[in-house]
């Protein structure tokens, strides 16, 4: 039997506000434990919440970005459960009247096709604190750090519209791209700024009935998410094919050990007893506020991608790749405008630069090579001053801080030889010195000759100390060899 996978996502996005959703304590990452947990965050008796305006604005901006309805009267509710990292014994969240209603996100797949994934709603809520079970703690104890408690989140709930891990990852990456493009989240996955809960079920291909789903919680990397989905799909299919049934349960996936396990024990008798929070009033959002935020909304990744195609003539692949990352996009545009070869600029930004940044664990804003520097180098490739191979040397030197492309080309004497007289002389000398190779070339089949050209090219480049213009050399070489045939 063949099986179809059905996936829905719940995505927690930490909003990039300075303060908590209900208190004026800082949300800065990495502070000393409990130094950013104020009386409200600690649920000290008698304390009360006051809503952060920026958190509301960010949620509205997300709604606008996915073309969703904005609920102009949204309500906070209490979700009741006990856990040491939940100081009030309830989470303040939204259920019946979430701030963002139905919307849709379009994903691009590897085969070039597009697919719309429905957003059921997105709501505002507060994050919980963090528990630690290891380290220097008294025996048998866990530690609780409430710095994160009260950090504003939007929880984005998708429809079960995804049919493969690939689609789920594409959706997750698209959301990452949207929230970072409109600057409502720093997108730092390793710091938990975006966390994914994945609902997975399987059903016989062609069936319209949903199978029983499991929820794998708190995945914080695209790689772990992909692994977790693939393993869970496999587990469910194996289970069903062996005559078992899938239990509706919450699961945890450990990306380091690659082991998933059920959290069923914890789920027993859960009844969250939601009710409207009496300490908070309905949040009313005016048309004027929505319009103001709409006007100020930064360019979205899809619009940027289309612009990159029309304005710079980039391919679909390249434009998608760059446009999905707002920092890369900004970097690219400076390089493209400063070098007048957008395609080449795109290649260098996506290739050499991205690779180097990745290896050094840096992002575009921290790049040692400025976009102006890279533009200067691309311009020298464009005007044939340097070859692509030489450009790599120039790039390395720029990375090390040795100056602009022109300064490095000058200092290292890397200027490309494009003078045809000089090149013809070098080619002739190399052919004269390698008569056996020439003989071999002449006696070879037509089909093998092309391969043998490489040997001559190597010799010629060596003779020119790598400075010969390879296109021109190729042309001259072919011409000279053809004359001998």
């Amino acid at each position: 039997m063949s099986w179809e996978t059905v996936i829905g996502l719940e995505v927690h996005v930490q909003l990039a506000t300075k303060t908590k959703i209900f208190s004026a304590a800082s949300t800065a990452f990495g502070a000393t434990p409990n130094s950013q947990a104020c009386a409200i965050d600690l649920a000290m008796p008698g304390t009360l919440p006051v809503l952060n305006k920026q958190a509301v604005n960010y949620a509205i901006m997300f709604g606008l970005a996915i073309d969703a309805d904005i609920c102009q009267e949204s309500v906070f509710e209490r979700k009741n459960y006990f856990y040491p990292d939940l100081p009030k014994g309830y989470q303040t969240t939204q259920l019946e009247k979430p701030i963002v209603g139905r919307g849709s996100v379009t994903i691009q797949l590897a085969d070039g096709s597009e697919k719309a994934i429905g957003i059921h709603h997105a709501h505002l809520e507060e994050d919980a604190g963090k528990s630690t079970h290891e380290g220097n703690l008294p025996h048998g104890m866990s530690g609780v750090d409430l710095n994160r408690a009260g950090t504003p989140l939007i929880e984005i709930v998708s429809e079960p519209d995804m049919r493969s891990a690939e689609e789920a990852i594409a959706f997750a990456k698209k959301l990452h791209s949207i929230v970072t493009s409109i600057n409502i989240c720093d997108g730092e996955m390793s710091q938990g700024s975006m966390r994914f809960d994945v609902n997975v079920s399987v059903r016989p291909t062609g069936s319209s009935v949903l199978g029983t789903r499991t929820e794998t919680k708190n995945l914080n990397s695209f790689k772990f998410m992909e692994e977790a989905i693939e393993r869970e799909v496999e587990r469910q299919i194996d289970l069903i094919e062996d005559g078992g049934i899938v239990a509706q349960e919450t699961r945890l996936y450990n990306g380091d050990t690659k082991v998933a396990k059920s959290m069923r024990s914890k789920e027993e008798a859960n009844d969250y007893r939601y009710f409207p929070c009496p300490d908070l009033l309905p949040v009313l959002i005016s048309d004027a506020t929505i319009e103001e935020l709409r006007q100020a909304l930064p360019e979205l990744p899809d619009a940027r991608q289309k612009r990159f195609v029309s304005q710079y003539g980039l391919s679909n692949y390249d434009s998608n790749h760059i446009a999905s990352d707002s920092n890369m996009s900004a970097f690219f545009e400076v390089v493209a405008k400063g070098s007048s070869n957008a395609k080449l600029a795109a290649n260098w930004v996506m290739g050499e630069l991205s690779g180097a940044l990745n290896n050094a664990d840096l992002n575009f804003s921290g790049s040692p090579v400025s976009p102006q520097q890279l533009a200067g180098m691309v311009a020298r490739i464009e005007d044939n001053s340097i070859s692509g191979k030489m450009a790599k040397l120039v790039f390395e030197a720029m990375w090390k801080g040795e100056g602009t492309a022109d300064e490095i080309i000058q200092a290292k004497g890397l200027k490309q030889v494009s003078d045809s007289g000089a090149l013809e002389k070098i080619v002739a000398e190399v052919l004269d010195a390698n008569l056996a190779m020439v003989e071999d070339f002449i006696n070879s089949d037509e089909s093998k000759r092309k391969k043998k050209l490489g040997g001559f090219m190597g010799q010629i480049m060596k003779a020119s100390k790598g400075q010969a213009n390879p296109q021109q050399v190729n042309q001259i070489l072919l011409q000279k060899l053809n004359e001998l045939l």
Binding site: G46, L48, V50, P84, K88, G89, D271, F275, P278, L280
Partner: protein
Amino acid sequence: MHNYTIAELIKGLQNNEFSSVELTQHFLDRISQLNDDYNAIITVTGEQALNAATLADQRLSLGDAPAMCGVPILHKDIFCTDGVRTSCGSKMLDNFIPPYNATVVENFARDGAVMLGKTNMDEFAMGSSNETSFYGPVKNPWATDSVPGGSSGGSAAAIAARLAPGATATDTGGSIRQPAALCGISGLKPTYGRVSRWGMIAFASSLDQAGPMARTAEDCAILLNCMASFDEKDSTSVDKNVPDYTASLGNSVKGLKIGIPKEYFSEGLHPGTEVAVRKALADLEAQGAELVEISLPNSELSVPAYYVIAPAEASANLSRFDGVKYGYRCENPKDLQDMYCRSRTEGFGEEVQRRILIGTYCLSAGYYDAYYGKAQQVRQLIQQDFSDAFKSVDLIMGPTCPSPAFKFGAKGDDPVAMYLEDIYTIATNLAGLPGMSVPCGIVEDKPVGLQIIGNYFDEARILNVAHQFQQITNWHQQTPEAIS
């Protein structure tokens, strides 16, 4: 000095007839002499009070001090006080010393009022008799075998016993008005949102409202002037100008339309109480007020609606008491769940646990719509009753509670009998309206109260009429035998 009203004390202080230190010492002496008889005060802050009084005297000597400067008062132990144990009448918070002040406490401190201590109360304000306090019951100064009412029974009894001239209190279903009635003093529950809830330990957040208690309406007006404020820290605080509540006390009641709800004089009302309340109404009529019979047809639904909404909100509000961050933690928990269950079961008293269970039930899956959802709809019916009534009358009056103070243990076995004690007061909390109780008679040697309900933010009119009533009667000047 302890027989002076706050208004008289302010005059004395500002005219240098006595100092705040003398006054404070006088009340501290009375407290140390008499508190054991009534158990009205949980924590006495003598040293702190004398320090504050010294500062107040300095301020008074410079002139232009606020009215409350140097006046000693008590705070209900539900208001957080920086550096002073705030127990909420519970073992759960017996060791809780907050590092912050409630806005109400801050407002009085700002004006130089002197805190004498913290008053006893029903545990987490859940009760109408002050029998649920971890610190033992408060005794009614009028009859020490009887309850003082609750939950602000400590504040009411302390004022009746002249241990302080005024006190703060809170009212979720009648917790200011009912003990005021039973102890023969005056108490006002303002409009929901008039007084900040910041730092006031929550029982039922949509019903809780702080207000003043004193012997006279005039004193309540003076206290409310200081207590009421718009507070950005409380999202439900209303951003509305606070008038001078003493300014309109002298207005005549002539032409005032008083609605008398027939539902408030039905079965269950003690005949003596009814006579006293009717006499009070006749006194006002004699001053030119017009009495109009009205109906609040959904009154009987207020108690059941209240006993869904209040426990539901409380069940969530009290979840923070889990033994993790502050308050009581059980000895040697064997695991996390054991720590939660034993800390909460050992830390909370029986009535608090009962209300948590009821609230949990009303919110649980399958019951929400029938209980919580329905109760919130009924709340709208009750509100509608009042808004219909206020189309034709200025104020609504009736008894504060069904009978004079009952004896300890009289309603111990049946929570419902206790809950009916608040039958006339609960509806105003559900609607968010202001209400007041003033003494209007003595029945079986115990005081009874007249309840005055006003429209939203009409505290000034309530206080005005209460004050006028106190100009023509002397019920508010009656003193328990043991005190005089």
